[in-house]
């Protein structure tokens, strides 16, 4: 009985990975083939990538997405880190409220964030849709994710280390620079990377903000309406590759011990 349950669990885990990764690996495979529909036997070609590079708006869209992702990452990581320190460092009765408000965006559908920001920006604030409003709208839910990540890591941080530094002569700024930051920056970096990727690849929120300005997801959306275009094979593969490269780098840093995640010895 015990063996059967364990075996079933292993099969389910492998099944989950297959389910999650088969589409990704298959589209990466197809992206290097001449024939999109039945690419067997393999016939290697780079023409999908050539047509992606030749696509009008591709460079602009890439640039815009990097801007949205980067600015969102900075905003979210900053808000999230400050709030997480505030919640964990000082154990006041406000911390549950503060944490609840920061996590609330996790429980709001993206389409609602998208349309509410669209209407509010235009009708109340009088802001036109542009990259700035896209950053703002993406930073709402990204802050929640970033907060969750920083909070989970910082929960293990021993704040008495800061007190020790103070007693031994470090000013508040010195304490943050010498002790707090060197110990918590991996979680801040992790939060920033996740925020970047979510905003970079977001469509449901960004779509309602950017108007005619192209981003990679809106470009992909436009293409996908007419079936999977040649460029889309290349784009999907490139983005998947970039995401995994970034996560693998972060994981490698964590494992190599360059970034220490254990604070208590």
């Amino acid at each position: 009985m015990r063996q059967t349950v364990f075996g079933l669990q292993v099969v389910m885990l492998i099944g989950l990975y297959l389910f999650l990764y088969a589409p990704i690996f298959y589209i990466i495979y197809v992206s290097f083939q001449t024939n999109n529909i039945w690419p067997f036997p393999p016939d290697f070609s780079l023409h999908h990538y050539q047509s992606l590079l030749g696509l009008r708006d591709f460079h602009a869209a890439l640039f815009n997405s990097v801007i949205i992702g980067g600015a969102t990452a900075v905003l979210s990581a900053l808000f999230a880190t400050m709030a997480a320190i505030g919640v964990l460092r000082y154990r006041t009765r406000w911390r549950a409220t503060v944490a609840g408000l920061y996590l609330a965006p996790l429980f709001i559908a993206h389409i609602l964030i998208g349309i509410a920001s669209l209407i509010f920006n235009k009708s109340v604030l009088g802001l036109p849709g542009n990259l700035g409003s896209a950053v703002i709208a993406n930073a709402t839910y990204a802050t929640a994710f970033a907060f969750l990540i920083v909070l989970a890591q910082l929960a293990r941080y021993d704040w008495r280390l800061d007190e020790a530094a103070m007693v031994f002569g470090a000013s508040p700024v010195g304490t943050f620079r010498e002790v707090t930051l060197p110990l918590i920056w991996p979680s801040v970096l992790g939060a920033a990377i996740v925020s970047f990727l979510m905003a970079f690849n977001n469509l449901e929120v960004t779509f309602y903000q950017v108007g005619a300005t192209p981003t990679l997801p809106t470009l992909a959306w436009g293409e996908l309406r007419h079936g999977i275009s040649e460029e889309l094979y290349a784009l999907t593969s490139l983005i998947n590759g970039a995401v995994f490269l970034l996560l693998a780098m972060l994981y490698g840093l964590l494992r190599s011990g360059v970034l220490r995640v254990e604070y208590r010895d």
């Binding site: 007190e163 031994f168 010195g174 110990l183 604070y263």
Partner: protein
Amino acid sequence: MVALRLERVTKRFGRVTAVEGVDLEIGDEFFALLGPSGSGKTTVLRMIAGLEAPNQGRVLIDGADVTPLAPYRRRIGMVFQDFLLFPHRTVAENILFPLRMQGVGAAEQRQHLDWITQLVRLIGVEDRYPHQLSGGQKQRVALARGLVSRPKLLLLDEPLANLDRELRREMEIEIRRFQLALGIPFIYVTHNQEEALTMSDRMAVMRAGRVEQIGDKLDVYHHPKTRFVAAFVGANNSVAGTVTALADRLATIDWHGHAVQARAHAGLAVGAQAVCYVKSEKIAVEAVADTDTRTQTQTQTDTGRAAAAAITGTLRDSIFKGHYADYLIDIGEGREITVSGPPRSDLFSHDRPVVLSWAAADADAFPADPEPAASREA
């Protein structure tokens, strides 16, 4: 010379008063702050360090008022519970942290490092990280970091709480040695009376935010001034009864027909309820023949003094601890008394009738009501 002075220091957290009106004067000595958890002793230490600001009162170091100063301007050393070494810094970097914060030059840092690693016997591990050290080594690094800048005083917050018993014994002696070598005040917070009694010159016993008694450690041990100190310090037994006579600073208490004598403390009155405390090593125990069991006897103690009290009981168990033994004696009425003494072959058979006695000067009687008895330390 007074190195540290606390004047009427009070600290409140919301509605809870953690420390109330504490006065302390500490010279170049080893001073222990002893108390159960929640007694406010750690809060007192944190106010000296500047990690908490008192609501009222002043903290003076070498005569200068440091109450408004942030911790990093006070130039004191501290050894924390759990060591709190910086995990991302090597042993040497940890030790030199206070000097680096003070902007001391590299050459001088090197000198201090050599000096302190020799003092605390910590050579050859300078380049290791904290997680590569044993518990004892971590303790030494924490001490070195606390002492390296030759601070005006060293605060120690239960530094031995997480060490095993053997290591604790060793470090108790070491820390005492450092204090004698450096001649600066060590202020040592602990809930472990054995540590306080072993290491300190003077000690203060705290309860519920107040200092109950302060003085030479032997004085605190042998002459408790309050009921709490009598119950908390040392291994104690208590019997409660009605005061039948008060004379010559001695009280006589009736305990179920036995007349028990003890030093009288303030607040006692004839006819009122009293509790009498006596430390387990100050009780003499003698085996008697079965026929004597229920007769009250006037025996002679080993020292020849007239015993102030004699109670009969039954030996329930003897707990052999090597160089001494604990005897658990049932004296009836649901009371059990523990007596400590040298192991004796005649007291190792169970259910023997025995007679207990102690000198009046070794027992302390307090009024029964105003203060609840403290739970004894294990």
